[in-house]
């Protein structure tokens, strides 16, 4: 039988418990403080450049680049989808290459130069890829869109750099930005609304404009 003391919650304990419950939805999936090797979370300093601006932060070592961008720098354009590198919603460009920001630690990006959707263009100064996505309706709910756009921009640079893909017929010939190539190269970005055909049209327009 439960002793009466166990049931004697005072008002303060009750409010602390309720507060903890209420706070949980406000921080989905961010690194939670758990005892470190010595019983405490571990902080480490990292300096990096995001969209041309330098930042130095002390972060819990568990902080991913994605969480640093969203929770510390408040750049919430980059989205958290699966948090396991499977959906591509968190795609950003680091030192010219697109990566999943959920699968790298912030502290591993010391000295890196990061470009997020906010750095590609702004509402009154859109990147051509952003404008093309709007024109061709390359989204429905829009959640995957920042990742799709960052991925598209870096993907075209990969083609220009001559990096082959799974569908490149001849490994020794120059790579062409065909629809087949673009679809294969964008397979790391999932769109659950299924806006794929419009996304391809948007990217194709940017390719054609670039000549």
């Amino acid at each position: 039988m439960v002793g009466s003391d166990d049931l004697n919650l005072n008002r303060r304990d009750l409010m602390v418990g309720a507060g903890a419950c209420a706070a949980m939805p406000a921080m989905p999936g961010t690194a939670k403080a758990q005892p470190g090797p010595d019983g405490n979370p571990v902080e480490f300093q990292v300096s990096l450049t995001v969209n041309g601006k330098s930042h130095t932060r002390n972060v819990d070592t568990r902080t991913t680049l994605l969480d640093l961008l969203r929770e510390n720098l408040h750049l919430t354009g980059t989205k958290k989808g699966c948090d396991h590198g499977q959906c591509g919603a968190c795609t950003v460009i680091v030192d010219g290459r697109r990566i999943n920001s959920c699968l790298t630690l912030a502290v591993m990006q010391e000295g890196s130069s990061v470009t997020t959707i906010e750095g590609l263009g702004q509402p009154d100064n859109l990147h051509p890829m952003q404008a093309a996505f709007i024109k061709h309706d390359g989204y429905q709910c829009g959640y995957c869109t920042p990742g799709q756009i960052c991925s598209s921009v870096a993907m075209l640079e990969e083609i220009k750099a001559g990096i082959p893909s799974h569908v490149t017929a001849d490994l020794l010939a120059p790579v062409q930005p065909t629809e087949t190539e673009m679809r294969e190269r964008m397979s790391g970005n999932i769109c659950r609304c299924g806006a794929y055909s419009n996304i391809v049209e948007a990217i194709t327009e940017v390719v054609e404009r670039q000549g």
Binding site: P35, G36, P37, R98, L105, P164, L171, M186, G188
Partner: protein, 316 residues
Amino acid sequence: MKAFTYERVSSPAQAVAAVARNPGAKFIAGGTNLLDLMKLQIETPTHLVDINSLKLDGIEATPEGGLRIGALMRNTDLAADERIRRDYGVLSRALLAGASGQLRNRATTAGNLLQRTRCPYFYDTAHPCNKREPGSGCSALDGVSRQLGVVGVSEACIATNPSDMAVAMRALDATIETVDADGKTRAIPIAEFHRLPGDTPHVETVLDPGELITAVTLPPPVGGKQVYRKVRDRASYAFALVSVAAIVQPDGTGRVALGGVAHKPWRIEGADAELSRGAKAAAAALLADAKPTRDNAFKLPLVERTIATVLTEARA
């Protein structure tokens, strides 16, 4: 994710010393597999040694006429290297068949060799798994095993090695170079690098604790028509049900290695000898000791048909 301490190192000697100093430490390079598993608390290192500044990201010619690939070379850069594309096409093709553009930009050569299985029970901490918790049992034996191994399996584990790159490297007879905490180096033929599950499926390679991969070397080019064919549930960004890496010479002789069927890249030298007799003979030699489950018995005919397709392509 469990809390951990972190440090950056700038030389292989510092890296192995840092891991030797810290029980529970792990190297981290690309991190695309390790961080995924740390989020699920399947991997719980107490200290991470960041080796990204080790300058092992180049590729150079060896005196023997082959290539020495730095352990930290990213999958994208390795697949795109002109010498790899020209002389080791099967490796380029295998890399490009794996993962997504974003992941290939981060994933490294050594990390790819060390990636853990994608068996769903390894990932599901609510189920027993001998690889995750030695001695707890294998949920896959009587579970959903469509994706899992058919050869070299044991009563303790039927997981597969998920790498595409390693299958091509097996066909190319690559060698893995390492250094340990005492500074001792060794060269491990890829045939001996990954272990079969046996009674200890949690021990996946012959690396000693704290041993660091520094490079992978390829022998001089062997020519031939080089093909990598991956069969999977969708056209891109999925793990193999079956994959075939083949190098076929004009006289019909060659080499063949399989992915998606075993705990390691699967190659039987006796099957190479059968290759000139056709897909049926080669598949029979490769799968002679197969023990499929009801769910994955389809992989046996699929291997033969995939080899047949590859031979047709190679001889075209």
